[in-house]
């Protein structure tokens, strides 16, 4: 019952006109960036961080969550109509969705994606609502050594376990950890890796890194590989409604997708690609019409799209209850909390229940808004794809640099931004994943603090890491997750997500 009371309190916060407006702006922006190629929700939150620090924390966080959810909806539109997934989580949707669009059933594909996202998003948000308080109770009892071990699990799963290549994933992670070392050591006040540059004493801003890697790196990469051709957009023709058969074939897939997506998203495994492809193969196996797979089977859109949204909600579970981001977007949302001096975790639930529960309640509202916006307005979103590529990327770079100028108007900071842009370009060119760098920068310093806290409590005895049962178990899991991909090359087909 406590949870219901808390959620009701949260609904009161979320239903305030100002917060409703933020949620609306969030879902609109999120859908737009989901549709547009080249920008994902992680970059959008990164771009908005500097311009929102003067706003109300609850409102901006509600907006960020709306962007995250909206991005998941928007990505499906692009995947279905032009076969270019706006974000990697929509790759599975494109498989059947684009074929449905080619066959003149684009409207039904979009409808099952939107309704499925709504159903699964709502189921997963219910899951978040009830799982979060329980995890918070658990998290309160965790010591610093347990947190450190948990972060080790996140480091490994985000970089090595599900990536294309564990070595490349870990390389990205360690580059991120290195960047996280720059600046003043919080415990002893000594400067590390600053090389006498006063600008580096405060450390590297996570927004500068994310904007450089995602916006400028992506622009450099796309420009240099000359992927210039405008894509052809499949038009939406014929009946706009799903037939009774479409409904009958979709609803089970939605629910299965939700139950595949949510737990995988909630585990510190990172990315929505695993659940979406898993859902795709499950639907293919269970379908009464397996012969239609590869020719536009509606279950193949309904399931992955549901799994996609459910995993986005799942990612918020470790983020809110443990302060543990497992995707690039979640990492940027953590940076959003930190910009207001808030640290997600059990303490935040105790100290700022209005804010946390307002955020959770707003997710229900955002889902309804997205359903209403997406079904009738799909034609409008498609028109965004008509923006010529040069202007689109020029606009992205203008916003990218503006964010940095607003945050720190210094030439040094813009220089760092450009360097990260070049790094992002080289990483794309040589096929190193981007997300582990961001997670490494944001989690590295936290992990170090927890480890040093644990060791100073234990008077320097490192055995504390294995004598605590939670920590020992988690470190064991991390070790297995690190070794497994080298042993089983079969995991190769699940590739790490960028957003």
């Amino acid at each position: 019952m406590e949870t219901f009371d808390a959620l009701l309190q949260g609904l009161v916060v979320a239903a305030q006109p100002g917060n409703l407006l933020f949620a609306l702006i969030g879902v609109l922006l999120g859908t737009a960036v989901g549709v547009l190629p080249g920008i994902g929700p992680a970059l959008t939150v990164a771009l908005l961080l500097p311009v929102t620090y003067k706003l109300d924390p609850a409102g901006s966080l509600i907006m960020f969550a709306g962007i995250y959810y909206g991005g998941m909806y928007g990505g499906s539109t692009t995947a279905i109509l032009i076969n270019t997934p706006g974000e990697s989580a929509s790759m599975a949707t494109a498989l059947e969705g684009y074929r449905m669009a080619r066959a003149g059933r684009g409207a039904q594909a979009l409808a099952t994606a939107a309704i499925g996202s709504f159903v699964a998003g709502t189921i997963a948000t219910v899951g978040l609502t009830f799982l979060a308080p329980w995890l918070v109770d658990l998290a309160v009892q965790m010591g610093p050594e347990d947190y450190f071990a948990l972060m080790c699990v996140a480091f490994v799963t985000v970089s090595a376990t599900f990536g294309d290549s564990p070595v490349r994933g870990l390389t990205s992670l360690f580059v991120g950890l290195t960047i996280g070392l720059i600046g003043i050591d919080k415990l002893t006040g000594q400067a590390r890796l600053t090389f006498g540059m006063p600008e580096l004493l405060d450390g590297i801003d996570v927004t500068t890194l994310a904007v450089g890697l995602f916006a400028i790196g992506e622009a450099l990469y796309v420009a240099s590989t000359r992927i210039h051709a405008q894509d052809t957009v499949e038009s939406v023709r014929g009946s706009l409604w799903m037939s009774a058969e479409d409904w009958a074939r979709s609803w089970k897939a939605w629910i299965r997708g939700a139950f595949i997506g949510f737990p995988i998203g909630a585990l510190p495994a990172g990315g929505a690609e695993i659940p979406t492809f898993l859902s795709y193969s499950v639907e293919r196996k269970l379908s009464k019409h397996p012969e239609q797979f590869g020719h536009g089977a509606i279950e193949g859109v309904a399931g992955p799209e549901a799994a996609n949204n459910a995993s986005a909600a799942g990612t918020l579970v470790p983020l809110l209850t443990l302060g543990l981001p497992t995707s690039a977007t979640a990492a940027m949302m953590l940076a959003g909390f930190q910009q207001y001096g808030l640290n997600p975790g059990p303490l935040l639930f105790a100290e700022q229940p209005q804010l946390v529960w307002g955020l959770i309640a707003s997710l229900y509202i955002a889902n309804v808004m997205l359903l209403v916006l997406n079904l009738p307005l799909v034609g409008l979103w498609v028109r965004l794809l008509a923006i010529p590529q040069p202007w689109l990327y020029a606009g992205i770079l203008v916003f990218a640099t503006m964010g940095t100028i607003v945050a720190k108007a210094s030439v040094t900071e813009l220089g760092i931004l450009t360097l990260f842009g070049l790094m992002g370009y080289l990483m794309r060119r040589f096929d190193y994943p981007i997300a582990p760098v961001v997670v490494g920068l944001i989690l590295g310093p936290i992990a170090e603090t927890q480890l040093r806290r644990a060791l100073s409590i234990s008077l320097g005895d490192p055995m504390v890491l294995v004598t605590s049962p939670v920590s020992a178990t988690l470190l064991g899991l991390a070790a297995i997750a690190l070794i497994a991909p080298f042993v089983m090359k079969g995991l190769d087909r699940f590739k790490a997500a960028e957003d």
Partner: protein, 155 residues
């Protein structure tokens, strides 16, 4: 993805870079003073990261030697010059007091050119409009501070 069989020179450069970074971090820790009674000092985490990077340098080198790197698309370096040049121009204009709008317009034009546009004047005008609109929105409406130059003082 195709697998190349020849040893990969850029891959080896990546490995060398990682090793150099590891050495740099290790060297940096030698300057740190130990002021901790219990537990680990400020040099522990950098050392762990340095060792990790060194190991990864070896692993990357091994991959490059076997040529086990995904095939890369051939790419064109000229767009890079345009975009990086645009960023440098932006920094130069801002540091000489040219203001946000002008700097933005130059960056906009350079990026559009990197993507194959050749209508410099038209793009510059669009860039100015984008600059004015974002300036009004963020500096006036959201009261954020953006660098002021001659154009901004007219608004």
């Amino acid at each position: 993805m195709q697998i190349k069989t020849k040893p990969d020179i850029p891959g080896m450069l990546v490995a060398a870079g990682l090793l150099a970074l590891a050495g740099l971090i290790w060297w940096d820790t030698t300057r740190l003073a130990q002021r901790v009674v219990y537990g680990v000092g400020p040099d522990a985490a950098p050392k762990v990261v340095a060792i990790g990077l060194a190991l990864l340098a070896v692993a990357n080198f091994a991959m490059a030697l076997r040529g086990a790197l995904p095939a890369r698309k051939r790419d064109d370096w000229r767009p890079l010059v345009f975009i990086v040049g645009g960023m440098l121009a932006l920094m130069a204009i801002l540091s000489f007091g040219g203001g946000y709008i002008l700097a933005t317009a130059v960056l906009f034009t350079a990026t559009a050119a990197a993507f194959g546009r050749r209508a410099i004047v038209a793009d510059f005008i669009i860039g100015l409009v984008v600059g004015v609109v974002t300036y009004l929105l963020f500096a006036k409406l959201l009261t954020l501070s953006l660098p002021v130059g001659p154009l901004e003082s007219l608004i």
